[in-house]
Amino acid sequence: MYQEIFSKYAPTKDNLIYILHEIQDSEPRHYLSEEAVQAVSEYLNIPANHIYGVITFYSMYSTKPRGKYIIRLCESPHCYIRGSENILRKMKNMLGVGIGETTKDGLFTLELCACLGVCGNAPVVMINDDIYGDLTEDKVEEILTHLREVKQ
């Protein structure tokens, strides 16, 4: 099932990170399953423990299923100074989950991440590949409500 992805990359070790990225992106739940790791291990001919070493080193990979939307709230000093704590509280309340957890409907996973480089518009959040800046609690409500409706 991963053949299509493998066919784009030569079976060399340096392609590991990109293959993992692509598998994770193609997986609706944005994670790397045991089967996926096994398949990559066979394709690249490197032990699974090495692959797990890489997966757990980089923060963007997950071995647990995640939501359709991955919310990455910037936890760097700028966003903190401009009130990211309130934004985090609001998100936790609205979604009913803690950091690293996924909502029951499988729609959202709440994560913290390093600087997104949009510090002029702090606090910021990246939801999948889209960045939202100058966040306020009202704006969070608007964005999350909108994403919920899109699903329906």
């Binding site: 990170i17 990225h21 923060s59 000093p77 700028h78 390093a114 480089g117 002029g120």
Partner: protein, 617 residues
């Protein structure tokens, strides 16, 4: 192709996009379509224009009118008034406190001290257009070099220009190249370091997004100089737009014959591709970055051997920062002397800084090296937000240090900053007003480096954690005498013994705040008091009896029910139960709740008794 009478440049840097620039662009296109003007007006998506706090921003040529904070609702008026009737909309122009209106970009004080070299085209051209880059002199430098210069001549010019690495270390670029050029090998590599992890720095992202061909041209110049035929852009996965833009630029260059075999008819061959990170700060360190490209965990390795001898897959490799590469085309079109005429004795040229924090104009600025902090904060940055005073500035992110009021006239260059305990770093500048607690700020940076330490070497992995434990103790009111000395001892040891730049610089925020704000640390430890009331354990709330009307709102909103009283008696806070959430202060309509520095005496006494009891047991 029809002639267009207006060029509308819309800033589509990540800042403006996050503020809604794409929606505005869509609305403008739609409105122009409806009015039948689509053929007359050229809409161009540019990279970052700089003033992120004014976003979304746009410029209308030929007049060069600068519009700021545009919303979707402003579009009909903008089209009707400006594009149809030719009357610029004053309402959307920038105004200062004295109501002065700035019509064009040039007039705005934010731009006046700036000199754009790396950012020359950023915010001025369509980053997805190779033609626009070439029209402004793009690939001219590369063409000249490949047809008329030897690699050693190229290195000589870069050495003469005095260009130093813009990623933080400030190592002379020409020297780095010379070492790699001298290494004998069948294969060499050039890597562009776009793993901009420093919180508060976003110049590399803006350059990659706003002018990708310039970075690519710079990489090719470097490759020719060192004899590399292969290159990699290593860009963090958090920057999807930058990855997309640079990939597109590479495709275009391939189609145009600017990449591949016999470039410009010379015998220089070059191929390059994009590699991405996956969320690890340490991968900005060159040896860790190299391991990440190889498909390994991003652990740094000891130097020597330096990458210029043994880098990627054991071959000689040069790792240059995005901004360093972006300076190169200008050095070759305008000359090394021109570049060296800017800046100071040892720090030549310009540097891009990301201004953020409590300053009026936040955003991306490029200024000549040697400009003073005062000029940068007050003239370019427009001064401190609100009515507060300047307190400190953190330069170089979590690896840098802070400087204070007394350093406002220090020139910004590699050596001067280092001498004061700060560093240039990648150019993140966080300006803080007097409401910030320096102990807390230092603790925050330390939390970041503890989190991002790769764990390979013990001084960084264990030492930083130990420093953080002490910092947490201090900010929670449990600091003891000797803590400051212990922090200094640990910090100095970690700096000396750590394997890579992360650990060697991570203690800087703590050490520099101790150096300049020691009295704040002492107040936290000895008086159990945080003067700015930022550290919750070292402050308390009090209700001013004269102002309290006895409305009971605070008592009803208190999540731990620690406020009691009546209309007659007024309300008081039970200090032993209060969690310092601040709700009461927020809801009080009469401003009767005050933040008072210092742990409340009752609480302090209770805590000491608790400790005594524990000791006896």
């Amino acid at each position: 192709m029809s002639l267009k009478r207006i060029d509308l440049l819309i800033c589509c840097g990540s800042g403006c996009v996050s503020a809604g620039a794409l929606k505005i662009k869509e609305k403008i296109s739609q409105t122009l379509e409806e009015k039948g003007l689509a053929n007359e007006i050229n809409i161009i998506e540019t990279g970052c224009m700089g003033p992120c706090d004014l976003g979304p921003v746009m410029i209308v040529y030929p007049e060069g009118v600068f519009y700021q904070k545009v919303t979707v609702n402003d579009v009909p008026e903008l089209v009707e008034e400006h594009f149809i009737k030719g009357r610029p909309v004053k309402r959307l122009m920038l105004k200062d406190e004295d109501k002065r209106v700035y019509t064009t970009k040039k007039e705005i004080p934010f731009y006046q001290k700036q000199v754009k070299v790396a950012l020359t085209n950023c915010g001025y051209i369509d980053p997805d257009s190779l033609d626009e880059y070439i029209a402004l002199g793009g690939y001219e430098a590369l063409g000249n070099i490949l047809t008329s210069m030897s690699p050693s001549e190229v290195i000589d010019i870069v050495q003469k220009s005095g260009l130093r690495g813009r990623g933080g270390g400030g190592f002379p670029t020409g020297m780095k190249w010379k070492l790699a050029a001298a290494s004998k090998s069948d294969q060499k590599y050039i890597i562009c370091n776009g793993d901009e992890g420093d919180p508060g720095a976003f110049m590399d992202r803006s350059l990659l997004e706003g002018d990708p061909h310039r970075v690519l041209e710079g990489m090719m110049i470097a490759a020719y100089a060192i004899g590399a035929s292969n290159g990699f852009f290593y860009i963090r996965a958090e920057y999807p737009l930058a990855i997309k833009r640079i990939r597109h630029a590479i495709e275009q260059a391939k189609e145009a014959g600017l990449l591949g075999k016999n470039i410009f008819g010379s015998n220089f061959d070059f191929e390059t591709e994009v590699r991405t990170g996956a969320g690890a700060f340490v991968c900005g360190e060159e040896t860790a970055l190299i391991h990440s490209i190889e498909g390994l965990r991003g652990h740094p390795s000891p130097k020597p051997p330096y990458p210029s001898d043994q880098g990627l897959w054991g071959k000689p490799t040069v790792v240059n920062n995005v901004e360093t590469l972006a300076n190169l085309p200008s050095i070759f079109t305008k000359g090394a002397d021109w570049f060296a005429s800017m800046g100071t004795e040892a720090s030549k040229g310009t540097k891009v800084f990301a201004l953020t924090g409590d300053v009026k104009n936040t955003g991306l600025v490029e200024v000549p090296m040697g400009i003073t902090l005062r000029e940068m904060i007050y003239e370019v940055g427009g001064g401190i937000v609100g009515d507060r005073d300047f307190k400190a500035v953190q330069l170089g992110g979590p690896s840098g240090g802070c400087l204070t009021k007394e350093h406002l006239d220090v020139p910004i260059d590699y050596e001067s900053l280092k001498a004061k305990g700060a560093m240039m770093g990648s150019g993140g500048v966080i300006i803080m007003n007097d409401s910030k607690c320096m102990v807390n700020v230092a603790k925050f940076f330390l939390e970041f480096t503890v989190e991002e330490s790769c764990g390979k070497c013990p001084p960084c992995r264990i030492g930083l954690k130990q420093m953080l434990t002490i910092m947490e103790r201090i900010t929670s009111g449990n600091g003891v005498e000797g803590d400051i000395e212990e922090l200094i001892r640990l910090g100095e040891t970690i700096k000396q013994l750590s394997l890579c730049g992360l650990g060697q610089t991570a203690p800087n925020p703590v050490l520099s705040t101790i150096r300049y704000f020691r009295e704040e640390y002492e107040a936290h430890i000895k008086n159990k008091s945080c003067a700015t009331c930022v550290c919750p354990d070292l402050m308390h709330f009090l209700i001013d009896r004269d102002k309290c009307t006895g409305c009971s709102l605070c008592a009803r909103k208190c999540p731990v029910q620690c406020i009691s009283g009546s209309r007659e008696e007024k309300y008081t806070i039970n200090q032993l139960k209060c969690t310092k959430c601040g709700n009461c202060k927020e809801v009080c309509a009469f401003k009767a709740v005050k933040s008072i520095p210092g742990m409340h005496p009752e609480l302090r006494q209770a805590r000491e008794q608790e400790k005594l009891q524990l000791n006896q047991e």
